[in-house]
């Protein structure tokens, strides 16, 4: 039975494809994809689709892709009707809370206004700490929102911290570490167990050998 793997486009794409290549999988079609959307592996009985991160979860939950590679940030923000079985330890970054140095975010009486692309993650972080929070969803550069006075602070992912520093924002706390995760459709693990487990163990081996 053939498998379909959904890979997340963008930040994680090259790193994931490199890993698959080192495992001996035939990823030529993914590297030279042109306009094709479904990309067969040249060596194994499986194919790849390249999708946006949120769609990766959707395709896997519906079972049209058996396996997905997607960032933990997307998983934390979205739904959870899948098995999350492996940490690829690539694309590492973290969720942080940041603000201008003198904002006094956690000392603030009354409610805190937070700008973020990840409203669920942000709400959970503040609610867990018993803080009254109002979330404002920002789609573009989140760092801008505290600078021009829309919000008191932000919750965002941080890789290097350069953008934050350049804009005079300071990190107040780290909410969670993020990296690429492998998710598996629930029915696929039952009905194509051998095939799925093969890919998982190949990936696990590659992570141990090349990433760690």
């Amino acid at each position: 039975m053939s498998l379909r793997i959904a890979l997340t486009k963008g930040r994680l794409e090259t790193k994931t494809v490199d890993l698959l290549e080192k495992m001996g999988y035939g990823v030529e079609n993914v590297r030279n994809k042109g306009r094709a959307l479904v990309l067969p592996d040249t060596r194994r009985d499986l194919d790849y689709v390249l999708v946006k991160s949120n769609d990766c979860i959707t395709y896997v939950e519906h079972g049209v892709a058996d396996i997905g590679v997607v960032g933990k940030d997307t998983l934390m923000e979205g739904s959870d009707d899948y098995y999350e079985m492996l940490d690829l330890k690539i694309g590492k970054c973290c969720f942080i809370v940041a603000s201008l140095p003198d904002a006094g975010l956690f000392e603030k009486k009354g409610h805190i206004r937070i700008g973020t692309k990840y409203p669920n993650v942000a709400r959970k972080y503040f609610n867990d700490r018993g803080l009254d929070v109002e979330i404002i969803k920002i789609d573009g550069s989140v760092e801008l929102s505290p600078l021009i006075g829309l919000v008191d602070g932000i919750v965002d992912i941080m890789e290097t911290g350069n953008t934050l520093r350049a804009n005079g924002l300071v990190v107040l706390d780290t909410c969670a570490d993020i990296s690429a995760r492998v998710i598996v459709n629930k029915a696929s693990l039952k009905l194509k167990k051998q095939e799925v487990m093969q890919v998982l163990s190949d990936l696990e081996e590659a992570v141990a050998k090349y990433v760690e």
Binding site: H62, S79, D80, D81, E84, K186, A187, K190, L191, K193
Partner: protein
């Protein structure tokens, strides 16, 4: 006001209706053959009925309404709770066991635009009383029913809620910790599971047990594998009783059809023992789920052991084509001869459906179409 169906609901027409009715008939026939009697309950219940049934009700998933006294009503989330209420109200003195079955729409609010449905038909059974042999009876009913459906390849998995439950209560006291751990294991969220376990004060054997749980799925050999990681006598007992159940199923000829997954943990402590699910090729989520729930009925006035399962019928519609073609007669007639046409149609309807169709020619013509 927009003229369309609410989000998450749909109209069914033509072949889809026939396919759904066929599935429903096959299932209800099977339930009836196994001695279950159909019940129908109102589509809505008092919200309180549900909040009484569940310790931590996901109440945002419920469609809520108000009645004329401003009491909160809720469209039923499942059929088990309405049947528990029915049992409490009308079967207080009835002799056990009781066998109920149903084919009813249930309602759960889903995330917008995720392609999931608000309204689906649940077909299932509940067996109240009857102890351990009742578990076997319901398993057999589920397996027989699945094999009577035209749905191709499927996998049937058995687990045991108390395997995780006992182990967790041996090492943790806080129910919140247990719930969080159960959730990680159930979702096979292996990365967080490792992090979680490393934060707890556990010995090596205990850590190994919880780490292995999500992997303990497959044929009957996983029961032996599970034995090796048990860190307490009471856990061995759970495995022994599952092994017995497997032997019972085997002696009845069902061994090829069942697998085990010991990494199933009970949702909201609802299930107390046996827990099972089925998955089919072509559906991303489970098509059948059920288990044993011994704590629900006492909340409705009369404690009893109980178990049941339900099949999400709507998920199965796309898995098969209608087996036989249906013959229909189109009867064309000139309007002046309607009386003759109507009486010929009446005769013909004894053998097949007839569609009366007036036309501008002089004769009556019958055409059989598929």
């Amino acid at each position: 006001m927009e003229i369309r169906t609410p989000s998450g609901t749909r109209d069914l027409t033509g072949r889809d209706v026939r396919k759904k009715r066929l599935l429903q008939k096959l299932m209800m026939d099977s339930f009836e053959k196994h001695g279950f009697e159909e019940v129908m309950t109102p589509a809505m219940e008092y919200y309180q009925t549900y909040s009484m049934a569940f310790d931590s009700l996901q109440d945002r998933q419920m469609v809520k309404l108000f009645d004329e006294n401003s009491d909160i009503l809720a469209l039923r989330l499942d059929m088990t709770v309405p049947i528990a209420r029915l049992y409490g109200a009308k079967y207080q003195d009835a002799k056990l066991p009781l066998r109920f079955c149903y084919a009813s729409n249930v309602y759960k609010i889903r995330k917008n635009f995720a392609g999931k449905r608000l309204e689906v038909m649940d077909c299932g059974v509940e067996l109240i009383g009857e102890g351990r042999i009742g578990d076997l009876e319901v398993l057999v009913t589920a397996l027989d029913t699945l094999s009577s459906l035209p749905i191709g390849n499927y996998a049937f998995e058995i687990g045991e809620a108390s395997f995780f439950g006992r182990a967790a209560s041996l090492v943790f006291e806080d129910p919140k910790t247990i719930e969080a751990l159960g959730d990680l294991i159930n979702r096979k969220s292996l990365v967080e599971l490792d992090e979680f376990l490393s934060r707890q004060n556990l010995n090596e054997k205990e850590i190994l047990f919880f780490r292995r749980l999500p992997w303990l799925n497959g044929g009957a050999e996983v029961l032996e594998e599970a034995r090796k990681v048990c860190f307490d006598e009471s856990l061995q007992e759970v495995i022994s009783s599952l092994k017995e159940l497997y032997e019972d199923l085997r002696s009845l000829g069902y061994e090829e059809e069942v697998r085990f997954d010991l990494g199933k943990t009970p949702y909201q402590n609802y299930y107390t023992g046996l827990i099972f699910e089925a998955f089919a090729d072509g559906v991303g989520t489970s098509i059948l789920s059920g288990g044993r729930y011994d704590n629900l009925l006492e909340k409705f006035g009369r404690p009893a052991d109980a178990r049941g399962f339900s099949v999400k019928l709507d998920y199965l519609i796309d898995l098969f084509e209608l087996p036989e073609k249906k013959e229909t007669c189109i009867l064309y007639y000139p309007e002046g001869r309607w009386q003759q046409a109507f009486s010929e149609a009446r005769e013909l309807r004894k053998i097949m459906p007839v569609v009366l169709t007036p036309w501008d020619q002089d004769e009556i013509v019958k055409e059989v179409v598929e």
